[in-house]
């Protein structure tokens, strides 16, 4: 279980407990948190679950796969700390994680 803070682009914060094994994307979607569309449900096929990972957590959220890197390359407003949240698996290690959402998911 990890407590994850999702911050919408307008600053609205949502703090939820997410079960180990789920993805950071699933944590948002199952709790109806706006701002993460996740059209493909986690198949790394759509890049609509784009988030920015807080600096302090970048080491713990793992490496991007070539597929994720490649999808992100064509998403909008991509930064150094951009990730597809469907590709970050939740574990106890991520307790306290904060992710921020981009202005849009297109």
């Amino acid at each position: 279980m990890a407590k994850i803070t999702y911050i919408e682009h307008d600053g609205t914060e949502h703090v939820v407990d997410v079960k180990n094994g789920l993805s950071v994307m699933e944590g948002a979607v199952k709790n109806n948190i706006p701002g993460i569309d996740a059209d493909c449900g986690g198949a790394c096929a759509c890049a609509t679950c784009h988030v920015y990972v807080d600096e302090a957590w970048r080491g713990k959220t793992g490496e991007k796969s070539a597929m994720e890197e490649s999808m992100l390359d064509f998403a909008e407003n991509v930064e150094e700390n951009s990730r597809l949240s469907c590709q970050i698996k939740v574990s106890d290690e991520l307790d306290g994680l904060t992710v921020r959402m981009p202005e849009s998911q297109h």
Binding site: K30, N32, C40, M67
Partner: protein, 409 residues
């Protein structure tokens, strides 16, 4: 009554219906929401049923769109195992299979589509399966395993995904297709040939251009498929994946305009302003192609759920979209953007033999559609080119050493 206080009734608790309910709450809808579903479980994702779930890489809980507690917590009256029997537009009510009558201010038809059955002898045998619902998938999972022989009727996406998962689980798989090539209705020849070769390498057998005459059985259970040329293909189970038909009867019976599905506008509104239709059941406009059609895809279900939820809550409609879909088979990720309507040229970027290539369908110098295998840049940029109606230089597009960003520049 303000719109936000209206009673919204949603018929169908699939991807479209479930998403519409959640979005209405997300958009601030305050009135009652009733979500009526034929299946015994809350809305879930169907795509993994033929892929990750079938292979045991995801469980039922993983597939839920929202947790089961989400619906009561958000004051959504979810009614499982319930069907709508009729729609009475005069008094704005629906009659449900549990005998109740529910009044609506706004109604969303999200009744989906159903798998087409083959009207041939033996269709009632056990072991003859479809893949549409979680229950169908349970039956299929129980029927395939090491050493089992699986016959798949239909070489479309469902058939090929089931074939790939069947092989992963150790089953012998034969795919029977009536056309001379796979994916004949939905993809170009280059892609058909590529998938055939790839599946064959994984041990799948194909019978193309064949007609299935009957299913044969013993003690009520299927044992084989009889082809029109007289041959019999022995098997332990059959999956029939030959397409789906929209569940639009309730709409047609109530006098709503239907074509190949329930006719709607860009707000997902039917010919009755209080009634919307979304997802597989809707026949909808697609401005970038200047035509109307029906789509069976998750992105479309989500998009139309958004359109209806925006219209009901008084939000501006979502911006225009480029339709897309995906399929996973073995280590192949196929991503398709757009539809090849009115295309007059096919351009292949990359080498199919490398397992990484994209097929562009062009109308003049405009991209109408792209089918990308393990090629996210071609898919992502293709989607933008299709939506933006931006002309491309073909020589650049055909040259994989020119990046997609440069092609679109």
């Amino acid at each position: 009554m303000s719109t936000l206080a209206a009673h919204v009734v949603i018929l169908g608790a699939g991807h479209a219906g479930g998403t519409a309910a959640a979005l209405l709450r997300q958009y601030g809808h305050e009135g009652p929401i009733t979500l009526v579903g034929e299946e015994p479980i809350p809305p879930y994702q169907r795509p993994p049923l033929s892929k990750a779930w079938l292979k045991g890489e995801a469980n039922a809980e993983d597939l839920e769109l929202k947790t089961a507690s989400f619906y009561p917590e958000h004051d959504i009256d979810f009614r499982p195992s319930t069907r709508a029997l009729s729609l009475n537009r005069g008094d704005k009510t629906v009659t449900l299979s549990d005998g109740s009558q529910v009044a609506y201010d706004a109604l969303i038809l999200a009744t989906g589509a159903r798998a087409i059955a083959l009207p041939i002898p033996g269709s009632d045998l056990q072991g003859l399966l479809f893949l549409r619902t979680a229950a169908d998938a349970e039956a299929l999972k129980a029927a395939i395993g090491p050493g089992k022989r699986l016959a798949v009727v239909g070489g479309g996406y469902i058939g090929l995904e089931v074939a790939a998962s069947g092989r992963a689980l150790g089953a012998d798989v034969v795919v029977l297709e009536k056309e001379e090539r796979l994916l004949a209705r939905v993809a170009c020849e280059t892609l058909s040939d590529f998938f055939r070769g790839y599946h064959e390498k994984q041990g799948v057998t194909f019978e193309l251009g064949c007609s299935v005459e009957s299913f044969e059985g013993k003690d009520g259970h299927v044992t084989g498929v009889r082809l029109a040329d007289g041959r019999a293909i022995a098997c332990d189970a059959v999956v029939v994946g030959v397409g789906a038909r929209p569940n639009d009867e309730i709409a047609a019976d109530a006098g709503l305009e239907t074509a190949r599905g329930v006719v709607v506008d860009l707000q997902a509104r039917t010919s009755d302003p209080a009634i919307f239709a979304i997802g597989d059941v809707a026949h909808r406009p697609m401005p970038i192609y200047d035509r109307m059609f029906r789509m069976e895809s998750v992105p479309n279900a989500l998009e139309q759920a958004k359109q209806a939820a925006c219209a009901i809550t008084g939000r501006p409609p979502p911006p225009g979209e480029c339709p897309w879909q995906w399929s996973d088979q073995y280590d192949l990720k196929l991503q398709i953007a757009g539809y090849a309507f009115d295309a007059n040229e096919i351009l292949v970027r990359g080498d199919p033999a490398s397992g990484k290539f994209a097929v562009f369908h062009l109308q003049g110098d405009l991209v109408q559609s792209v089918e990308a295998i393990n090629s996210p840049p071609e898919f992502m940029m293709g989607k933008q080119l299709i939506l933006g109606r931006k002309p491309v230089t073909k020589a650049k597009l055909a040259d994989p050493s020119v990046s997609m960003k440069e092609v679109a520049a």
